[in-house]
Amino acid sequence: MSTVDETLVKHVHDHYAEYTYDMFMMNMSPDLEEMQLFAEWADTLKEKKIYSFEAVRPSAQKTEIDLARDNGEPMHIINLSSYNYLGFSYHPDVIKAAQDAVGKYGLGASSSPVISGTYKIHKELETALEKFFDLPDRGVSLFTSGYSVNLGAISAFIKPGNHVVMDMASHMSIVEGARLSGGEVHYFKHNDMASLEEVLKKTCDGFARVLVCVEGIYSGDGDIGNLKDVVRLAKQYGAFTLVDEAHSAMVAGENGRGVCEEQGVLEDVDLYVMTFSKAFGGVGGAVYAKKEICKYINWYARCRMFSCALDPAVTGGMVKVIELAMTEIGKERRKRLKTNAAFFRSLLKGKVNLGISESWVVIVNFGSESKTLELNDYLQRTGLDTSIIQFPAVPKNDARIRMFITSEHTEAQLKKAAEIILGAAKKFDFLKK
């Protein structure tokens, strides 16, 4: 590693509290300065015992678990940091199905899905998803992560000269998919139809393809996308739509078909994106679209074409998850999740700033990211693990505690979690005044 100015390294060590994560994104010189300084920062946080990230779990993502920090310090926490919304990741039938699949097919797929990596279990997963969403002319294209679905699908669908129009609160995978496509990237104000229409007027010229990208539930804000109006406007201007239902597929809607189902637009959406890492309890993702679109994406989404197919264990587990989600178990868990989220929200309402969140992704705004380290350390030490987000995932000075409620949390756990949040709000001065 090249030599970086020692006074800078010492400054990071001595003034670690003045630094925030985003400051090390900047590359200012040909040496590896930002990497060396980031390493110094992270090491200092560990030395000061306030590094609460990357804590190791010795067991499944259940609602209350032990974990160990990087320095070995043990903690016992209520788990609101994992998006295992329906608790399927540790359902015994799912584990058994994953074990059976790995026993039958081995550890990996050992090839790209378009060459020789497609197993029978992958086809079973495609069929299960087609049954779950139940539209006659649609198919599925499987990916190894939710992030890569957006990277691959958007870049296969949009070419240079075309346009991607997205909500300003869109997930980074949509932003990067749009950039990768080479198309022109446009933003509209969050959930603001007047702003969307303004962009559509400029971009829909009858020659270039336009793809409007929105989300069912926005992961940074926890609010619900106005899909009905987005789809209506897109159709009016001849644009296509992509809806990312990462946090809502299998959960929202009577049958778990997402916010699209809830708002009656499932059939009108061109690209329905889902991830298997949230309510599905596994990893990977898929795009659900007309069969000819899926066929094209299978071959022209480069990150799919040049990656190994989904591993058999996860694929087998997913087939069982979908089966369960279509039974009374799924229905009951979906209902319980909504009850739990409403209960938790009621414990915090009026006391802290819940922003615009209105789902099982509960947000508490605490302002400046300068509080993040000590706040997260405090929360974990007092028995609550959350998923803190800050710039650049959300705007500057708008950092948030983000909590994922699941169907499996008990009322007592949620009460305790709310008490911890309110205690933190008092200590770190973000109680609602």
């Binding site: 900047m26 980074m172 300068s370 500057k396």
Partner: protein
């Protein structure tokens, strides 16, 4: 370093990051007013630093309110 020269470089990186900017850049505005998202802002600031060969200390980047604020920082640190 002239303020106009700094603005020109910032403008270049802003236009490169955000599609469809045709108007003259007003330094009193924020990057977000021109449709830049948070990742764009990191890249604009980073790109401008490399091009102007001026290093603004990382901890000084937090209090920049608008484009003018960034120009001020470049002006200050180009003299060091």
């Amino acid at each position: 370093m002239e303020r106009t020269e700094i603005l020109k470089v910032i403008e270049k990186h802003l236009v490169k990051s955000v599609a469809g900017i045709t108007e003259t850049i007003d330094p009193d505005k924020k990057f977000t007013d021109y449709g830049a998202n948070s990742l764009d802002i990191v890249e604009i600031v980073s790109g401008a630093m490399r091009e102007l060969k001026v290093k603004i200390p990382r901890t000084e980047l937090n209090d920049i309110q608008n484009i003018k604020g960034l120009i001020d920082k470049f002006e200050t640190y180009s003299k060091n």
